[in-house]
Symmetry: C2
Subunit: 213 residues, 2 copies
Amino acid sequence: MQSRTPVPRVAGRPRSTAADTAILAATREALVELGWSKLTLGDVATRAGVAKTTLYRRWAGKNELVVDAVAELFDELHLPDRGTLAADIEGVVLQFAAILARPEAKSGLMAVVAESVRDDALRDRIRESIVDRQKCLVVEGRARAQARGELPPETDPEEAARTADLIFDVVAGAVVHRTLVSAEPADEDWVRSFTQVLLLGLTSLSAAQSPPA
Amino acid sequence: MQSRTPVPRVAGRPRSTAADTAILAATREALVELGWSKLTLGDVATRAGVAKTTLYRRWAGKNELVVDAVAELFDELHLPDRGTLAADIEGVVLQFAAILARPEAKSGLMAVVAESVRDDALRDRIRESIVDRQKCLVVEGRARAQARGELPPETDPEEAARTADLIFDVVAGAVVHRTLVSAEPADEDWVRSFTQVLLLGLTSLSAAQSPPA
DNA sequence: GTGGTTTCGCTACGAGTCGTAGCGTAATGG
DNA sequence: CCATTACGCTACGACTCGTAGCGAAACCAC
């Protein structure tokens, strides 16, 4: 937790930040045109206008590179404040769906998730740079709804964490499955229906767990 | 739609069915040991005790082979009749979770789904041999619940189809996301919580759509 | 300036995989 | 017996991988 880049830490030629952005952009471009399996690091290097060795100095391989390239797509994900929990959920789910609709996200995200099954370090990298940021939105949205009085406050913090995990898996999983497996758009109508089911389930669950005295 | 294998359609040596089963089993074994990316067709051929050319005569490539190998895992998926909709859902979701917990399913399934983003024929193959069979369980389970009176009968068949698709994406997506992305087991506790939320959402939705006169 | 350090672009390399072709042999049906 | 198809085996060119070596460039401390 020290100031970021107080001085380029050590002597020597600094790494070109322009090369970083060019490489990540070239990676997304190659994902769109070629898809995951036909994407080669040599091709990405050519597109980015850098040498292949430069690429290998910064990333261990295809997996890590694509994770970073895809993670940038999720930077635009923010929790809107539309006044009601239902509207907030619809808004953030639509944002998530819009990102997943992009071909570079479709091609890259599931591929690295599949790879992460046998690579713990990769899984941690995905979790840190992509998943955890999404999960924060769930927690934040619930806190906001509780402040509004739409949801009862949590009693057991452990139970609260489990519920947040459950919601996150349901939301992210449903959108991903709709987009990639069913291969149909998660448009406004779908998101509205989905939000309705989820919200009714959650409120009914809260009512069942803490019945009115 | 003609009888299957009335007689080996044409003259010549028939294909060895033993080779088929050996190859698919070897593919799953290689998926467990090596994962998707390091699985090579030459290695699978060696494990199965067949020549590499035999493999290429039957499958166009790695994608198609793995789809068939993984599809067999879902043969054991059946809808139990436990008396209530909640119990039925819990049962089938637990079965689905058990299959997804196997390393060959984790390694293979998401990888071919990722590939199917850029390969329409592969997507159709996945849908036909894996996805559609699962979706049938949703429709069947709902029909059974309606027969029991747990769910109101459908009025609009188009709306019914949309709802079935939604349920399917929610169920399959949530289990997949829990298993692969969150990397935590979809055990009985989790399935029970998930089923509760889903079921409360669905029944509340039905009540809202067709309010009691 | 000068020296030390790190990055960069470039070329080249062995290793491994891919998908196919060719050949002789085995198993079926007419 | 003969035509036809599948099989095992070997070999092959094409491609990608990840690394090593080189000289030049960019930065810092002195």
